[in-house]
Subunit: 341 residues, 2 copies
Amino acid sequence: MKDRTNKVTIYDIAQKLGLSASTVSRALQNNPLINEETRLKVQEMATEMGYVPNWIASSLRKKRSNIIGLIVPRTSMYFQSTAISGIQHEAHKYGFSIMIGQSDETVAMEKELVHTFYSLRVDGLLAVSSMFTTNTDHFNPFVKNNIPIVFYDRVPSDFNGYTITGDDYQGGYLATEHLIRQGCKRIAHFSGILTCNLYQQRLAGYKAALAAYDIPFDESMVYVHDLTMQSAANAAQEIFSKSVLPDGLFTANDSSAVAFIQEAKKQGIQVPGQIKVVGYSNDLSSRIISPSLSTIEQSGYNMGQKAASTIIQLINQDEGIKVPKNYVFPVELIQRESSTS
Amino acid sequence: MKDRTNKVTIYDIAQKLGLSASTVSRALQNNPLINEETRLKVQEMATEMGYVPNWIASSLRKKRSNIIGLIVPRTSMYFQSTAISGIQHEAHKYGFSIMIGQSDETVAMEKELVHTFYSLRVDGLLAVSSMFTTNTDHFNPFVKNNIPIVFYDRVPSDFNGYTITGDDYQGGYLATEHLIRQGCKRIAHFSGILTCNLYQQRLAGYKAALAAYDIPFDESMVYVHDLTMQSAANAAQEIFSKSVLPDGLFTANDSSAVAFIQEAKKQGIQVPGQIKVVGYSNDLSSRIISPSLSTIEQSGYNMGQKAASTIIQLINQDEGIKVPKNYVFPVELIQRESSTS
DNA sequence: ATGCATTTATCAACCGTTTAACAGCTATCA
DNA sequence: TGATAGCTGTTAAACGGTTGATAAATGCAT
């Protein structure tokens, strides 16, 4: 290892100015104990010498890292990346940095990230659980040590702390109701794994809408899989092989709707002519596919911002401000070609 | 602030076992100075007490953080997010964590991130420069202190350190040559800002292919903008307003090609019938749009892996291994509907 | 019993910053 | 004069590990 110890410390500054290190430290933090003149002298010298505070030393001493850990299934999902932007901008405003880890939708990786973040002594943890996370056991180090956790978007079912979610029930309801109003009578549903709150809620909304319009719920119309394009294509083939087709489809994400539409094209099945489709998330791809995809918008950027501001409030223990425990973002139906005639 | 000082330290373990802290420290690191028996006893007690090493204290002492800073324009670009996955997986293998910052394509934010990462004492910096970065001045803290930097994908033109790039010249050449072979004679080009090496190279490849097939280069066929969908749509309108249309278009990214195709559809112009289009990057969207988009694949995951392994070698100063200074990844033409008849 | 090497574990300094406690100095007032 | 207060700045002990120097304990040969 090369020697990289040539960094400027407060001692170097102190020595040059004939002061003590603590005075320098205070001056740099605009501590009122230090008078104007010395403060300016110190700050000038600091910039002149190219001093950059050693964040590591400071966090060790202050027992505070100003880092927020972030666990997401993957950054490449459109919703996730917009949420990350929201988080990052909000965190930056308050002087926090964020450290991102991808769980790749596995519990094992999630556990490892929790461990790493704990070891890094992050001040708080922001997480979107993996599709296969059924409980919060592996988040124990944080729970036990009272380090704030906020789950957003996907929340493990046994978690009873702070959450920021979209109104998934309402989203499922709106999407399904829209299809019904467009004349659909046989509406299929692509759902994600049902251990995940999100998909439970979207399914519940779907069922509720059917019930509200006196359409009997048919278990066999619900296709549960991991919502990848591949799985969706398989489910589509299964549907097309049946004697009687559905006339509507509500999918719990956009990419499975996209895969469905592509598969339908291959089979010469008309969307929206024969089957109307509504997706979820308002991904970029929903505007690119043709027919353009009707979907549910759930403002990822805002959810990210809210998640960040919530965890920061928890970290700072802003007693004055009441931090809502379960914040739900409204959703909006975006009507496009895939569901309208 | 709540008191969160209830964490287990090596001193707690030492006390319980009647040992000294240093023995515990050594035992936990499998230092051969400590005998088998004590080592096991210590490790057992550590897990029993739920000890997690304080990474901050350890990096302060060791002057090594095992964190790699990563600066990208934004995580939401498909290529970037695949590269990030590659980086993260590779880093994880070697016990490094990565810290991601988004520059939002601004030099100011880039500068701030450099500062933050320097303050965090990251062991190395991985960066994709913003579109508007013309030099490396603001990366000075790293350069001056001999902290390794590796640029990948987009590289500032004055940087003469380690780089990992796709073969952009070749990509531009392949795309253009393909269009020519498909019969195009008047080929337009959407380029990104030309201070960026990437776009320079793609343009150079475009020119070279034209020259190789004796097609005169026409300055007015090159549209330079920021390659957002909006800008591409504007450029498309400009093209459509002209009396004579191009018969081919090579765009330096996929989303501008997608925007162009959508605009063409609106105007009733046939792709590939009247204009054949080739994009760049093999984004997800290139498979979703119809007609599906021909494009250049530049394996982001592998580039990310390579970038990570390179910086780790530099950090570790693996003298034995020769680290190539400018690694270039081959690119591949993906032919789809948008350019074939 | 003595000397010497080897194994095993401890001591104490250190990383760079923060901060409680304290000290020196000047000014003010009884 | 001495007591009190207000500024300004210093000392030294943390924070939680790591590690070179050192000591204690043991074995073994003489």
